[in-house]
Symmetry: D2
Subunit: 481 residues, 4 copies
């Protein structure tokens, strides 16, 4: 998972990108970077870590220009190297080009082999480098035609921003798997993975960038085209369940309301007598509110999350390790004692965290613990940009719900059927509101959103884009240390 941002035509382009990335920080904490253009030359700065730390460096004042793109990158399991940080920026025959990419290409390996065979060299393990090569070798003349040409050759999920000396390009794959939205800040255009970053900079959400749409912004304004053909909309349904911020509206759907709907449906799905319903914070909170409302069971915030846990936690000695979840979550013991507890989480991956949570609640005195999951069983890995475990590691891929219930030691466990998930998300469509005239407008995305409108491969194994086994970072021949 990653986040991308872009701005064109603002005197504070680098600062806006910095703030925009800040609001996308939840989409990636491994690295951050910004590329700007002053019309003649691109400038680039990238670093490992959180946006706030990377850009503490006073050098970023040298990020000159009125257009910028930015990127935050998710911490993946393998190695994490500055080399893989984005934006990636290169010189090629027509000038300089920077790119920030959210998603994953399913034919990167084949394209890479093809490109290497024609003489291209690769300096990173990132599939994003493939796109840049394809732009560079395109027979097209304009940068927009070259980008269209390149993206036409790649399969998979991509929401990308590209920056040349004088143009900002934003594009979304034909299935629209990853989100990408367009906004305005005075005369400037902004694009972002999520509209929450517009709130922070005071920009106004215009609309989503449609699946298959390519936006080109330059001094003459904005142009839209659909050069990648038409395919069924397949927005990642898990963006609504977990990835995106609750204050985002994606494809016309409120993430917060979608989650509440998921909670409500969950309450109807498998009723249980209980005294309280408790969320696994932070992502489980809206679903729990919906659950509590629907079930008429009091909502209580009895798992407290520590927000100071980072990644460099030193390994304690044998006798005191295995604090796992404890370091992030702690129960409010006195309020749990003797209570029948429903606990709501967004998903179960390996089952180990859920098992710890159940144990933690029981140790704190809960008399019953019923686990409710605001999504269907996660049974299949994602090949479109999310770092999930392999199929064999996903507990739901080879265990029944009852087996999982037994493993995590809960009194009962239930998930939400996929059809219901889709229905819950669809019902969370919002009417757009213009605070200036006080009127409501049509929703941003006005097509019907049924189950087929989403990519739900992680739940169903029904992959909208064919993928082939990728070589991936770990099979790369060159290792940065």
């Amino acid at each position: 998972m990653c986040g991308v941002f872009g701005v064109f035509g603002h005197a504070e382009a680098a600062n806006l990108a910095y703030l925009g990335l800040h609001a996308l920080q939840h989409r990636g904490q491994e690295s951050a970077g910004i590329a700007t253009s002053d019309g003649k030359q691109l400038s680039l700065y990238r670093g490992m870590g959180h946006v706030i730390d990377v850009f503490a460096n006073p050098q970023i004042k040298r990020l000159a220009g009125t257009s910028a793109i930015g990127h935050v990158r998710y911490s993946t399991a393998g190695g994490s190297f500055l080399k893989n940080a984005q934006p990636l920026a290169v010189d090629y025959s027509e000038g300089s080009l920077a790119i920030a990419h959210n998603g994953n290409l399913t034919n990167a390996e084949q394209l890479r082999t093809m490109l290497e065979e024609r003489g291209s060299i690769f300096q990173s393990a990132s599939d994003t480098e493939v796109i840049v090569h394809l732009v560079a070798i395109s027979k097209q003349t304009t940068i927009e035609d070259r980008v269209a040409d390149a993206l036409n050759q790649v399969d998979g999920a991509y929401s990308v921003t590209l920056l040349s000396q004088d143009k900002l390009i934003a594009a979304r794959d034909p299935h629209g798997i990853r989100p990408l939205v367009l906004g305005r800040l005075d005369d400037a255009y902004v694009v972002s993975s999520e509209p929450t970053s517009f709130d922070l900079i005071g920009a106004k959400l215009e609309r989503e960038i449609a699946p298959g749409e390519m936006i080109v912004i330059d001094k003459d304004g904005m142009r839209s085209s659909y050069p990648f053909g038409t395919k069924p909309r397949k927005m990642c349904i898990f963006e609504y369940v977990y990835f995106s911020r609750p204050d985002s509206v994606l494809d016309g759907v409120s993430v917060y309301e979608a989650r509440k709907n998921l909670g409500r449906a969950l309450a109807r799905e498998n009723k249980v007598e209980a005294d309280i319903v408790v969320p696994v914070p932070d992502s489980g909170v809206p679903a729990t509110i919906g659950y509590a409302e629907e079930a008429g069971i009091p909502f209580e915030m009895l798992l407290v999350r520590s927000h100071y846990v980072g990644r460099t936690f030193i390994e304690p000695q044998q006798s005191i390790r295995h604090f796992g979840v404890r370091l992030k979550l702690n129960p409010v013991g006195t309020s749990l004692r003797g209570k029948r507890v429903v606990v709501v989480d967004d998903s179960i991956v390996r089952g180990t965290t859920s098992r710890k949570i159940v144990k933690m609640l029981r140790d704190a005195g809960a008399s019953e613990v019923h686990m409710r999951i605001a999504s269907a069983p996660t049974s299949w890995p994602c090949y479109y940009g999310i770092d999930t475990p392999t199929r064999s590691e996903l507990i739901a891929s080879n265990h029944t719900v009852e087996e999982i219930n037994k493993y995590i030691t809960s009194d009962s466990l239930s998930y939400l059927p996929l059809e219901q998930m889709a229905s819950c998300v669809s019902k969370a469509k919002v009417e757009e509101f213009d605070p200036e005239d006080g009127k409501t407008h049509l929703p941003v995305q006005n097509e019907a959103l049924d189950k087929d409108s989403f990519c739900h491969a992680c739940f169903s194994g029904d992959y909208p884009v064919r993928f082939e086994k990728q070589r991936g970072p770990r099979q790369m021949r060159l290792l940065d240390i």
Copy 2:
């Protein structure tokens, strides 16, 4: 505000202190430190920043020994220097001594003048150094008598842990203004500002350390005494409102339940017609749950907090600054639209944050915004260890509630009377539960808790301990850079 921790008699003393401080991180993010003893020599390591960053240094493996004390220090407004980090550790006539201190001495300036006049030198701006000097010049012979002698001379608030080569001492001022609790981990003793740190390390809360009590732990076990005389219990009531973690039980009172009670009382106090009630996260959440329950208005989590905001935020240019609260909070616009909103916060200090929150909610489309504060108006500065603004900066010290309501632009504003606060906290007393035998026991603190049992000086101006104008860090003659 600060947090202190101590452990005696455990092979993993330094690691336990590290984890314990981690759970106290919310009490101070400026610096962290641990001192250990191996019976012959004390070892000390301190650094600026969060616990996790300070102790990323592999050198801490050299923190040898089976006893330890630790400290986290709050970021104060003035300067922040390593020199002021704690524990403070010194050599003196009887050996080495380390001290970690939560609180503030009200006669530090007079004692410092007296000590300087007799020839003492000061190397920090901290009033903690005064205590160490008093221990060093005491005519008493044992370390516990010296410490008792020293603490008998200081006024104000203190919850301290001290470590000599072979003893751990913990003491709490006679009013018991700051919390301090005692626990057991197998054969080892642990002390901490809050019991939540015991949960993390698997220790069991034994009881509070009583106001005026001094605990001495050595190889012969634990001894308790009350060498500082008896004074009325004056536990800081704001610990329940804001400082402590909701999963802590302090003086027999559940912080979480106390906050819910405050919210319930607030709902009864000044009723208002509204569609939803929204907390200012994170501290306002339990009170909002209580409010929603009592008022029968739906609870919604419509202000989203960013947990990635740190302290080194670069200053954006003139045209895009003043994002203030926005960087930490963002509204879920689509769910607020057209709604009559009650927003619950724990307190109002200067009023500027509340004003921004009201504006943010209105901009997001709320039709009415009613601010409810789960405490009385904060009108007086704290002299007992909390870094509050001066009286002139506290909006409630020189404005009526109606004036504040006007300033923050809310449709209505109400606070909770002090008497009600005390009553809410008192009602949150818990019966202790032993998971091993499944029985409930008497509460930790079994005295009645009326208004007079608390220090509420910040609300009432009724200071339990006389204070004199302190020279304070900024008037110190020596400045570290």
Copy 3:
């Protein structure tokens, strides 16, 4: 200027490269890097700064394998970015390839344009990236043929080491402008810019790698070929005057003895009555010893060099700046007083440093100051890998010796004619000595070394390889910050 190193077939390959680079540190202090191969995968680590600081990182223990190449990079005037650090390592169709390059290609701009036109992308400002692209697009099948093919297309100066998964390749341009030597350490082969790095690791100098020679080392041993055609030897004469360490033997010539010869010739060239002769340390010392011996004037070390001066010197206020040379050199005043001083330096670039030295000596009490330069006037920029000022900045390019003498305020100034320089260097040929059998052998390089054997373009403007105006780092369109 840069330094390169390589080792093949040693269990401690990375450590040997580290030590080897250490001994080449004088050839570049901006960045350092090492690439290793374990037969299947290359590993790479690079960083900004001195070898000792870059490799303080414990991660380098992960530089696995029995072959390695390394690089130190000179601090150039423009920007200094990690991106430009070497070795450069890439994946391409045949596997992975790392390269370390000392020199400068004179047709890099044309090749880059050609490569970009065929679709190549560039991620650095370095001309080394050109070589890698040429290897990648070569129609040849073996790595050695591809490298030969690539190097056949480049003009200019290059001494390179390349590492594939299973081969180490070292090559030197047909003119042999930059040095490159071959050695043995037990069964392992080593290559280096200078033999002084062999001393440090206990390796034995075998011979120079000849101009135009390409060495391929793999599990089957070493093979030599001359795939780039034959051209006149044009070893950089300034390597003897300044760049190389005095303990190096390059092309069969002792740098130390060459410098002494230059000093001797200088003493004969323009005799002056003087009391003492003083070197500008450190490079001027051997020439001064030669001068003192020939002229019969006592050698004195009266300019003391500070070895603690780094690059991050903070800018003092207006009133105390301009300490320039003072920070590096300080005179032994009491010993200079009333003395007629000959001061020997290796070259004059802009004249500002010489002017400061003359003033410093006079201020210290010298009655006369005669500047003697152990080379001809530096009048032309170098296009073969040394970062020299432009022609207009070189004082000798537009001033007579008398004008320079006046500018630097010396009592007299003389240089050494180019013919004499060549003769001095030639006379410093050494007979090789085998400490094992105690016998002397033929010198490493046994051709005659007259003036035409050297590149002396910086003195004569007689450039052995045609160059074209390069775009260079500052004209690159993409700027790293």
Copy 4:
């Protein structure tokens, strides 16, 4: 060993201190610090490492005021902690006081015990803290009387600078064991361990601060007094042999000329037939020049020193370690081959370095290696501020010259008798020269300098100040990590 600096009455006080410390860097590389006064408040900044790195921090711009003291600290064998860095600065009854100390107190342990018994606490292992306590408890009223009172109680070696809000005090122990000089920069006064720092800032050496002299500088000018009584001058003779920079004049003696005289005497002392004489750089160079001149044997610079070696050198694997001296020195092999070599060093401590140098020269082809030491055998540890090994580690303390010669494998070895050393140093007295009027003046120090004028305890065991076994840093009970 350490270096101290002070300036009073200059608008650029902090910058001058920074530059002054830079020129004293050879006296200590472990830590550096500066304290300034603006007349009301002292400011302090200290850090670990070289001056240039410590003061790269832009915070030093906050070192306000027109007076300053500074300190560089030598890397001692034990631990190195920021806490031990100087200046040490404290608040006490009369205001603030900062102190920078070069030397070592021989009765620090007794004073510390006395001070602890009266109730003082110690926060460092440094004996300098003792001085500050004595100032603080003094019954005297003025700061100068308090300092005089304090220093009257300490024994041993000290050259100190102290800074109060409005006064700069500099004092030197009655024996004058460590150097301290006074200079002028326009209207400002400067003091320093060595006059070489005056050269750098353009200040003029006025005179040495005499043994037992205390200088007080304030707005009314400078006052001199001798409050510590009169004792025989005992300037450390090893300052001339090794510690001080060759461009310094200490007590009227040119260090450079003293070293040349030592070399000359060495040449007369034990004549040997040889082809060349080679210094161990850098400290051995002037003595070697003197030796070469006296013996009529050519001076050659055939051991090349690497100036890039720092302290964080990573440990290479077993098979390639033990490069020891090699990393710092490398021989010019081709010029040593077959030569009879005299090698001149300043001293032999353990013998291991000399043994490596002899082996290195032989391996390089030298036919004979004669070691000449420009001082007497180092047989006794220093208790006056230099970190020397214990007596048992000093090879000369328990071996004859012949045994040492055998151990280091030289063909012959000779030292210089102590009487000759004293005579050589005495003969290097200089006449002062005023570049403004061109006249020579009386030397700074005009007493006779015979053997008894020096502290030569490290050679003779004849300690001028009685010392008692110190507790020292390692016996301190409190350990910083």
